[in-house]
């Protein structure tokens, strides 16, 4: 639970530095100033060229669903069922996050996914912790 922050309304946000909702919801990756490649999240040194001169850089707002599952049994703080997916972004990174959807039966591999913000688990106080999630587009 390192690096998490509490927003002013007391809702706990996990990894606020990794996403933004303006002007539209998107993730924030790391980008190497030397070789220009992306990683998600930003590492301490670039795994491609070992430069340690990295910057924050937004990812495209949509990606492609590489794979997913509906989790029906999980750790105690995670109310089941929930969707979990891997999305490929055009910048060359693959990200894992939960999927927000009412119709899991409509999820399909290679479909287009967007970013949203929603509850990902319960905190120690029983309240929802929010962070970025995927949502199916179409």
């Amino acid at each position: 639970m390192s690096e998490k922050e509490k927003a002013s309304d007391q809702t706990e946000i996990y990894k606020p530095e990794l996403f933004s909702t303006t002007p539209h919801p998107h993730l924030i990756a790391g980008r190497c100033k030397s070789c220009r490649k992306y990683t998600f999240p930003k590492y301490y040194a670039c795994p491609f060229c070992f430069s340690d001169d990295l910057e924050d850089s937004p990812l495209s707002p949509t990606g492609i669903l590489h794979s997913f599952t509906i989790v029906r049994r999980s750790f105690p703080a995670y109310p089941v069922p929930y969707g979990l997916g891997l999305v490929d972004f055009p910048e060359g990174v693959r990200v894992m996050a939960q999927i927000e959807t009412d119709k899991p039966e409509e999820l399909k591999l290679d479909m287009k996914m967007g970013i949203t913000v929603g509850p990902i688990r319960k905190g120690k106080d029983g309240k929802d912790i929010l962070s970025y999630k995927f949502r199916p587009l179409s």
């Binding site: 599952t69 999980s74 929930y82 693959r94 591999l109 688990r121």
Partner: protein, 382 residues
């Protein structure tokens, strides 16, 4: 590089033994390995203990119980590959000439910390905090694999059917009752498409091996010595971000490729294999990565019963992680003991007849940004 031989192996049974601490399980296996080797315990010059969740000084706490004190004892951890990482440590210590006799021990008591459900992972990993457990990670691997290669749920279930059939013949296995495709698919869904019976169980055990250098083998061996033909450990890579997270096969291919090269052998030379089938899908992916078949042909291997007892490359005659059990840190040495028994002709009703060469693959992997924490592959022969 010196030749290295396995003089003896020992294991406990696999199951739930919440009343037995790691040092209690561990001393049984270590003592059994020493007795199997038939050497005086004081011949052991260095020891390695692989485990994940058992706390501080486990090797020392355990070996003290059998009087093995003084020598360097190193506790090593490489997630689910911890046991074979301990084996690799013992092997390289002898192969590069630092000592001549080493003990590799693996131990885990999971039922003390866990009644069921997914293994506890590290919340510092974003993906774990996001709700990923090992079953859901493998479920996503399965989903993509099934789509790409046209594999069915029934074919996945057959891995478990084969596994239970083998385990029924293994007195130390945790699940010894045979099952059916329907039974596997009807068990509760954990993470689509993986049902409970397609996930390895929570369990406890310990296993150990005594290794020695080629220079001493004639003097020390009391049973047929088993030669370590190849032994390689490698961590996962972060080579191609578009392949991240979903596929452990790069790590297994790379590691086994290096082990084959060291042994001067290829997949076609393997008679028997113990591989890391933590989930049904894993057996297919790993069989491909080890070169037993083409990419995508893992399901056909099962359909054609080539990996079943009686087939040309028997995979997991012990029942594997799915049925013998997966007491994390002990797994790699349970696999090693199984291969040793086959090569000696001591595997009882599940004996792979005439087995001369066997391969062991263990995959420790809960590091989502890489294709695995640690992969260890050993090739043994007589």
């Amino acid at each position: 590089m010196k030749d290295v031989y396995i003089l003896g192996v020992g294991t406990t049974a696999c199951g739930k033994f919440p009343e037995k601490g790691a040092h209690i399980l561990g001393r049984e296996a270590a003592w059994a390995a020493i007795k199997d080797a038939g050497i005086h315990p004081r011949k052991i010059e260095i020891a390695f203990c692989g485990h994940v969740y058992q706390g501080m000084g486990v090797g020392q706490r355990t070996l003290k119980e059998i009087g093995l004190v003084g020598q360097p004892t190193v506790n090593v951890e490489g997630a689910c590959g911890s046991g074979t990482l301990a084996f690799w440590e013992a092997w390289r210590t002898i192969a590069y000439g630092q000592y001549d006799v080493a003990l590799a021990l693996g131990v885990e008591n999971l039922s003390r910390i866990l009644s069921g459900g997914p293994l506890p992972l590290e919340e510092d990993d974003i993906e774990v905090f996001m709700g990923m457990g090992m079953p859901s990670l493998y479920a996503m691997r399965a989903k993509r694999y099934m789509e790409e290669y046209g594999v069915t749920a029934e074919q996945l279930a057959k891995v478990v059917v084969k596994s239970r059939k083998h385990a029924a013949l293994n007195p130390i296995a945790q699940f010894r009752k045979e099952t059916t495709i329907e039974g596997v698919l009807k068990s509760p869904m954990i993470a689509d498409p993986l049902t409970r019976d397609q996930c390895c169980p929570v369990g406890d055990a310990s296993a150990a091996a005594v290794l020695c250098s080629g220079e001493l083998v004639d003097k020390l061996a009391t049973k047929k010595p088993i030669k370590v033909l190849g032994c390689v450990a490698q961590s996962g890579k972060y080579t191609s971000p578009t392949k991240l997270t979903c596929d452990p096969s790069e790590n297994v291919s790379r590691t086994s490729g290096m082990a084959y090269e060291m042994a001067g052998l290829g997949p076609e030379d393997m008679d028997v294999a113990e591989i890391h089938d933590a989930f049904s899908i894993a057996e297919m992916i790993v069989c491909e990565a080890l070169g037993f078949c083409e990419k995508g042909a893992g399901a056909r291997l099962i359909d054609e019963e080539r990996t079943s007892l009686g087939g040309d490359i028997v995979v997991n005659p012990s029942g594997g992680l799915l049925s013998r059990g997966h007491p994390v840190g002990a797994t790699g040495l349970l696999q090693t003991a199984e291969i040793v028994w086959h090569l000696r002709g001591e595997a009882g009703k599940r004996q792979v007849e005439g087995a001369k060469v066997g391969i062991i693959e263990t995959m420790g992997g809960a590091q989502p940004a890489m294709d695995g924490v640690t992969c260890v592959v050993s090739i043994l022969g007589v």
